[in-house]
Symmetry: none
Subunit: 417 residues, 2 copies
């Protein structure tokens, strides 16, 4: 198992002014190579911290990736620290100096001593030439440990990592192959899902790892196998998935990069159906999520956000009587909304929401979080009641996820229990 | 100087599957309190790593914030480790159990042992009750060191930190007073803004720090003063703001927590005006943003998302001729959309968008990113053309920001240049 520590040097990141996207990106790339990230650290631009952290990381891991601390105003510290750790001296690197001169000439800028000093590099390092900036990357390989220091500017760091570091890593370490498959579920919480698949999980071979990845209204199950033969790995993972799916079929909406909105987009496209939406409590969010998918104009005609009861009556055509008898948040009204939008927009399918998003508007019978969702096509008009939370923003998101999943289930003609 | 280490526990963050937004958010909040973040660490969900890292952090810093590792499937490890470090035993906390039961009852869900176990807490901890989830936060104060352990779910972590941790931190440590004021602008880029205020910036006293915080379509200017007398700090910052505002007035839409959607909400409420929206390329996002504000039903009546031209014609009542003559993305159509929605919904104001969000649908005359926005009230109907980007997601967001700002400017009756 090859281990890696990722060290980010940067006061701006520590103070919370900018988010560290580099560490996430590097983690993902290293993980895909088969490297386990054992720790990530963010430290200030101070010699003492840099030296201590790098030395500790060399002890703890096989590959150490350092980003940041190489700009023209602060690279002295990082480079001098690396010289001390690896018993090196700074020496001018011809190719790096040419690169600095080229960049300054191209931009028509005057060069300063600080800029030229960026070409001074520890004499024991492998220079990683930076085509997009003035700070070169550096690599040190000693006692089977590989330390790589890269500039913090994301696009410079990324191209250096892809072009120079990946070949370096795979030449120094023998990497396993990783095969991953993610099952996406909705409509069930993490702990119930875990109860449903307990037997299956307990019988998983040791070479497959299962991860639960919950997010609002959804849980992902990710299976990972690591080894040296891709076909074998694929087979053992796929075999396990075949055993798993029947236990949770009604909750599975897709795999890997699937999201509800593109799953329903594909289903609508395949079935050549058009859709329209009547929204109340979701306030436009369902339309927004559906239209986030490029090409949705093939199946999405449009929506009415009928926020006030007058609009429900005058624009959507729900009778005032129905609203008065059952209330706007009711089975009767939400079904009529789905039916009416379908008729009005001449779409094959109509879907709808009506609920109390909060924070106000709740009653004892219908507390905040009470939401009805509806579906209508030429054969049927159906609805479902949801009991959500006390939080407006969460209720809007959960209404959306639930309605899109309700649409999916009705489109697939599949509904268990 | 009070120092803090932030520890994130999470295999998913280490593997790069999700980005650690919590650490950035916490850094910013701690920084605003006057706490210096000396290190951030991300470690796996393993007892050995958790114990070692927490112990080291207690040695190195005054305040240690740990997030993650408290979900129903993995909280054993973190809580047991905390018990070992602080010589505690797990004990059922009545209030936390009631909270778990309340949440499960409300959602009508069956409770499992794992869920109940979330109420088992170290007997020496200060329990931080979590109103939004089943995992409580925990705090330990020993030898003038404060350790806080919070769930990793962002909205639970954030509300616990704001409501419970900030009072705890300020009660245990003497903090300098920080006075901050943020000016929110839109419609101008960072470098142009910086040119406009160059003289003012160069004359800023040393005790005031200025930060440019750009985000999509907006730039925040944050002034910070640190000291021990709140009135003095407030005075020097407010004096500077008085000098600054006249230079950039047309771009300023608010201060501090103001967002465009609540600024327009307040304006509409104050002027007792109602509004409706006709959306095309923005696909529901404008309605979604307006309805994110609690109480918006006072002024927001509803919307039509007229995605297809048939809906523009048959539901919104734009003549086919107009669309054919000028195209759906045109001054004429967007103004007619704003006018029609106002008439149809009987609102005081109508606003509209029509554009090419992309990635397809662009032409040489109207490339992807061409967007028209419209405004109509009983006195006038006006519009504005935007030339946005090639990215669908960004175009939707920028259309929304621009239209809300266009609405604000028309509502305020203020328009310079």
């Amino acid at each position: 198992m090859i281990n890696s520590n990722i060290i980010t040097i940067g006061d701006e990141i520590l103070s919370g002014h900018i988010i560290d996207t580099n560490a996430k990106w590097l983690s993902e790339k290293l993980n895909n190579l088969g490297v386990t990230i054992s720790k990530r650290l963010t430290i200030p631009d101070k010699k003492k911290d840099i030296k201590k952290t790098i030395k500790l990381s060399i002890n703890e891991s096989d590959i150490i990736i350092v980003t940041g601390g190489l700009g023209p105003t602060n690279d002295d510290i990082t480079k001098k620290t690396l010289c001390e750790i690896f018993n090196s001296n700074l020496k001018e690197d011809k190719k790096s100096l040419d690169n600095v001169l080229r960049i300054f000439n191209k931009r028509g800028l005057k060069i300063t001593k600080k800029n030229k000093d960026q070409a001074l590099l520890p004499d024991k390092c492998i220079v990683l030439n930076n085509d997009y900036g003035t700070a070169p990357g550096m690599a040190f390989y000693e006692n089977k440990k590989l330390l790589i220091s890269l500039p913090g500017v994301p696009f410079e760091m990324k191209s250096l990592f892809k072009d120079k570091c990946i070949p370096l890593i795979t030449s120094k370490f023998k990497m396993p192959i990783i095969y991953q498959k993610t099952i996406k579920t909705t409509g069930i919480g993490e702990s119930w899902l875990s109860d449903l698949i307990l037997d299956w999980e307990n019988n998983l071979e040791n070479d497959i790892k299962l991860a639960y990845l919950p997010s609002l209204g959804r849980v992902k199950l990710r299976l990972t196998a690591k080894g040296y033969n891709k076909n074998t790995l694929k087979k053992i993972v796929d075999d396990q998935i075949k055993k798993l799916i029947p236990k949770i079929e009604e909750y599975v909406f897709g795999f890997d990069d699937d999201e509800l909105e593109n799953v329903i987009g594909k289903l609508l496209t395949k079935k050549k159906k058009t859709i329209s939406v009547a929204e109340s409590c979701s306030g436009g969010n369902i339309s927004k999520v559906i239209t986030s998918i490029p090409g949705c104009s093939k199946y999405f005609l449009g929506s009415i956000v009928a926020y006030s009861n007058d609009i429900k009556e005058n624009v959507l055509g729900i009778s005032r009587k129905l609203i008065e008898r059952y209330g706007a948040v009711s089975e009767e009204v939400v079904e009529k909304m789905a039916y009416q939008i379908r008729k009005k927009f001449k779409s094959d399918i109509g879907i709808s929401t009506s609920g109390i998003a909060g924070p106000s508007g709740g009653t004892k019978e219908k507390p905040v979080g009470t939401v009805w969702i509806g579906y209508s096509d030429k054969n049927k008009t159906v609805s479902k009641k949801l009991n959500l939370t006390e939080r407006r923003d969460i209720n809007i998101i959960l209404s959306t996820i639930n309605l899109l999943n309700f649409l999916r289930i009705n489109l697939e003609g599949y509904r268990k229990g």
